[in-house]
Subunit: 262 residues, 2 copies
């Protein structure tokens, strides 16, 4: 499996047509089977598929810790990952499927009106960051976005502390890029507490809730948030920074965590 | 319902922090109920919700023509649109739901391995377009993208002929923006045959299949395609143009439809 593919294309530029080699992002269907039940098929970038599966299950509330995982079997020829978990989880089957069908579909979910948010505690972290640190992290983030540089077709996400990127991931889906990070955190016992998420993608309610569930107080995006993303960030105590470009950024909520700007 | 919302934010720029008014894209959950069965909840931009519902149903193969629609009832307070269709369609219920659950979830669908593509005929249209016409259409497309200009948070799509934009739409979801166009076409008896789709978004398999189903031979994107998008476009006889920026573009497949470039 490779993340990109090289193909011949025609490039038209200033009235000239030339045959050139181009690099495009691959799209791969990964079916996640939890305890012998087919859960969902994600279109994704074919790398770190185990992280994606575990991150997805965890984001959907179907997995809380590494200890619950009995076995992960990845068949990357057929695009199937099987995850087996401990007994207690199996019994949650019915609830799980109901939820995935009505609201888990990434094609749109009114998560924020559901149990997801009602059960979500306000994030009390006292973490702060300076505007300069945000600009430095974003610059490094941009440099690391290799697949995007090549193809223009993928999103990036990163887990950071104030000074450096700890985990970096890329995927054709902005949700997947973040789930891959959380999957890696869970499998490798990396805490998300007190850390920061960087994303290249827009911040809708779904992204905000994913991040809130990890107790992350700072979410920084190169793109725009939606109104619901902003409302949730405000309510849940998350500092949402968007449109970090050049030396500029927008702070939408809980601006007290961004210090030393003047 | 409005498409955007104005909110106060903090802008940090060159070391200064200022309170300013910003405009952000709204995010609205629309639940589609087909013949009294809840089908899906889409997160969308709250405008032209009837077009979105009808376009979605049509893209999913649940609606073929305007004549099949008995009633559309939109409750935009509760975010619900009810569509009632003629008898024959009701009987397809079981199949429909199975498909939506396993592959209709926009969070990823291996559509291209499913009946969708197997039943799809190759597009034989002899339509051509000049590189200059593509650049002119894209320029106009850019100008019309009002919500994007304001918020940076939405996608645009348009149905065009070689000379002008016929229908334009915007949505926080790139799938939705295209479905809104097709919904309007169906409700207003606008043919898609021989026409062109312009999109601001990436071209994945799902987008390609949506367009192929309408017998559209030319798909032009400002962004990148995935490898599966390119393969499907090649196989289905669609001319796929991407990365239209400045005076430059990439022609990925069926390049004979792009003429007069030199």
């Amino acid at each position: 499996l490779t993340e990109v593919e090289q193909i011949p294309i025609w490039r038209i530029s200033e009235g000239e047509k030339k045959r050139v080699e181009d690099v495009i992002a691959r799209e791969f269907p990964l079916t996640i089977i939890l305890n012998n039940k087919e859960l969902v098929t994600l279109l994704c970038t074919p790398a770190h598929l185990d992280y994606l599966a575990i991150g997805f299950l965890s984001s959907e509330g179907l997995l809380k810790s590494k200890d619950e995982i009995k076995k992960i079997t990845l068949d990357d020829k057929r695009g199937v990952v099987r995850v087996e978990t401990s007994e207690e989880i199996k019994q949650a089957d019915e609830i799980i499927f109901k939820r995935l069908i009505t609201s888990g579909c990434g094609r749109g979910a009114s998560f924020y009106s559901a149990a997801d948010v009602i059960g979500q505690k306000k994030i009390e972290s006292k973490t702060t960051i300076s505007a300069n640190e945000i600009l430095e992290l974003t610059k490094d983030f941009q440099h690391r976005s290799n697949v995007f540089e090549k193809t223009g077709g993928v999103h990036s996400a990163a887990l950071c502390d104030n000074k450096k990127i700890l985990i970096f991931s890329e995927d054709i889906g902005r949700h997947n890029a973040i789930d891959k990070i959380f999957g890696q955190c869970l499998l490798q016992d990396v805490t998300t507490d007190g850390h920061i998420i960087l994303t290249s993608g827009r911040v809708s309610s779904e992204i905000l809730i994913k991040v809130a569930k990890r107790n992350i107080a700072l979410l920084i995006s190169k793109s725009a948030p939606t109104d619901v993303g902003v409302k949730l960030a405000g309510d849940l105590g998350i500092t949402l920074v968007g449109f970090v470009r050049g030396k500029r950024m927008n702070v939408y909520t809980n601006d007290w965590r961004v210090v030393g700007h003047g």
